[in-house]
Symmetry: C2
Subunit: 448 residues, 2 copies
């Protein structure tokens, strides 16, 4: 039997998430992202396709590196305008019962007391189907929006994140001990104060003295995702993450990255999802034609605005064929790494446009359904990946094809589940209990 | 024709909201507050009853004034545990089309940049059915949870609130100007940077330099509610609020309070909702019997924990018949005022228990359906109130009776609408446009 493949979709509550410009395609409905029905239909579709999760990215601030201005991002709809992803989850939870929901939240700007309540609320309302992609942000524009001159330095952000995690673990795992909820109508006791602790923390960055506001939710701590590719980010992931996102790339590079992460996290198990952009057709020719059609709707301006911000390079300052050195600016290190893997450390604006105009982060995988199924299986075997994180192209057809054609092809090959496993998101992912277990640091805060 | 009466329900994402202990009644389902189905059923019920809105209260911190401890609040489930109310709204919006949703949010602890996005997101997802009850908090336990020694002083909180409102108005009304959203597939332009402004603000409390993250939502600024009863709170309400909550009480007192508020707010119109707790039956005798039955489930401990915190008086330090002077501690001034109206400035713990054990904030209105309908109409005429804000007793029967029996009785008397008006929450409330209009200060930030 081939290695089991799990599918997530990677989306964002905006018009242009990763493949910029697709909203201009006549069949694309991304511009309906402000309507609940858009999200309810998506959630139902993914659950029909037995997807493990729907992931919603988020970014605070705006992409203003290209030409030192946000104009290109605004014109092309590149991650602005953007809704709060957390708000969309409860509505999708109301029309599904199995699908997991991951949301990205930047801990740098969220008070732990309030954030912990929001996540507990989501875990209750979804009955244990919530995950959190832990990010620390990378945009100075977000810092300015929050009243600061600039953001903290990269490694300092991870120090802050370590402290933050301790505080939220204590709220989620320690504050309401086992047996704290009685719900005893006869005695009128809803909860037992003796089993509930006030969390007192005074650290370098955070100070808190409070009971967690929520009673224990099914998973207590949400399923933890991380995508950091820097050395510091990897250490953070190894300590905290249960699932990791990686950008796609050559199988041997991704295999090495996965092996490194797993070695760092051992003995804890990690689920690794690799980014993928699929363009499928009934034949190779049809798929190639579809790719060409999609590319005609790509936004070069949007892609450059997005790439400039996430790579920390102002492409406006370069001619088309001028070699570009990945600069020392603020950047998502995993994206810089992916870029260097794909193009070598020196690359050009033309190279970026050619390579990434459709398939930012990784080259699109293009082919007939059966061929794509075989390649995904082969790639998962070669890399040790647990599954793929699919970014959208022309929506919803890109996902409808996956659900209606690719998933059955993977099932025929014995590489995809035929039904959801029981239980919470964490149970579905790891086949064990709903709560984090030792040696994860969160488990240490929970009374036996 | 009698004055039109509008109905809101006043609820909270917790077991014990105002009438403490009701969850112990065998027919009460409040303890299912963590389940989405609980909220979806409520939203459908209210929409069937043509309620204007569902209001969700919120409080940060815990009630730890009674005996200097949170034990009583925790035992009785008095507003703890408590979910984040904002998260529940999108799910309820998915199963309704007309019902408005108001959420309480304490601006003291919410970064305006992030809060503005959350409210815009809700206004989008509900298609213009969101309201915000502006509060500044009153609990030191909330300040400690947020890493502070204690909260700001009462009037300072209102100064901060004034600055906060300016910042969020600018994000909601000014940042994305008219014509900023193009959604033009042909040219690939989603939005027009020339019509979008970066909001720069440097004030005593807040500093921001950012584009609002969201494109304009149907109402831009949510419908603004306020409940402040202090002189400073009244001035704030007169300047900002579109709707005001008042506690119930003798008609002449409430009439005076409403007239004062309207005079302060003029020429702006205010909708005023008066708190009410109804216990209805098919006859006066049945209603009285029901009241007695409900009261047997009241929690004295929960009521004292709640009252101690909201009045700023530790009732644990008083004997049952010892006169109590309303102290100088932190308190919700409107509740102190209501208490003094009902009992005179000196009252006893026994008096509090007798009077408020069911019907905290105001005495319950008890009677047969027709009698209650007549009394509500008479009260609205006498006070100039626009409607009532119903707090729950035994849930859901307390609201089912309103929807199935009281609403038809009000309709027969010509005092209640037979269908929703069209449009957003603001349009339904005021019969004008979806946006705030001059002389409201928010309108001044919107380009013509």
């Amino acid at each position: 039997m081939p290695r089991e493949i799990r599918l997530n979709t990677f989306d964002m509550a905006c018009v242009g998430h990763i493949q910029q410009g697709m909203w201009t395609h006549p069949r694309d409905t991304s511009a309906q992202y402000t309507q609940l029905s858009h999200w309810l239909d998506l959630a139902r579709l993914l659950e029909r396709g037995l997807f493990d999760g729907l992931f919603l990215a988020d970014v605070l601030g705006v992409y203003d590196v290209l030409d030192g201005s946000a104009d290109a991002a605004i014109r092309s709809g590149a991650q602005i305008p953007l809704l709060d992803p957390a708000m969309i989850v409860p509505a999708m939870a109301a029309v599904t019962t199995q699908l997991g929901f991951g949301i990205t939240a930047n801990l740098s700007y969220e008070a732990p007391y309030l954030f912990a309540r929001r996540m507990s609320t989501l875990d209750h309302l979804t009955q244990g189907r919530i995950g959190w992609n832990v990010v620390t942000g990378y945009l100075d524009s977000a810092a300015r929006a929050m009243g600061l001159e600039r953001q903290m330095r990269h490694d300092d952000r991870y120090d802050l994140a370590e402290e933050y995690m301790e505080v939220v673990y204590r709220l989620w795992e320690e504050s309401w001990g086992p047996g704290s909820v009685l719900r005893d109508r006869a005695s009128g006791r809803y909860a037992d104060p003796a089993a509930i602790r006030r969390i007192r923390h005074e650290g370098a960055q955070y100070r808190i003295d409070a009971y967690h506001l929520c009673e224990p939710s099914p998973q207590r701590t949400p399923v933890l995702y991380q995508a950091g590719a820097s050395a510091r980010g990897q250490r953070f992931a190894a300590r905290h993450a249960e699932c990791v996102f990686l950008n796609g790339g050559p199988a041997e590079d991704v295999a090495r990255a996965i092996a490194e992460l797993r070695a760092l996290a051992a003995p804890r198990e990690l689920r690794v999802f690799v980014g993928a952009t699929l363009v499928t057709g009934r034949s190779e020719a049809e798929a190639a034609e579809k790719l060409a059609e999609y590319r005609r709707h790509s936004s070069v301006e949007g892609a450059l605005a997005h790439a400039s911000a996430s790579l920390g390079i102002d492409f406006g300052r370069y001619a088309m064929d001028e070699p570009i050195e990945a600069g020392p600016g603020n950047a998502i290190q995993s994206n810089v790494a992916a870029m260097k893997r794909a193009t070598g450390p020196a690359f050009t604006k033309r190279g970026l446009i050619d390579q990434f105009i459709l398939g930012s982060r990784q080259k699109p995988m293009v082919g007939c359904v059966g061929g794509i199924a075989d390649r995904l299986i082969e790639y998962a075997e070669a890399t040790g990946a647990d599954g793929f994180n699919l970014s959208r192209t022309v929506f919803p057809e890109c996902l409808e094809e996956v659900v209606d054609e690719l998933v059955p092809a993977l099932q025929e090959r014995g590489a995809y589940k035929r039904a959801y496993a029981a239980g919470t998101y964490r149970e579905k992912l790891f086949g064990a209990g709903p709560l984090l277990a030792p040696p994860h640091p969160a488990a240490g805060f929970r009374a036996a």
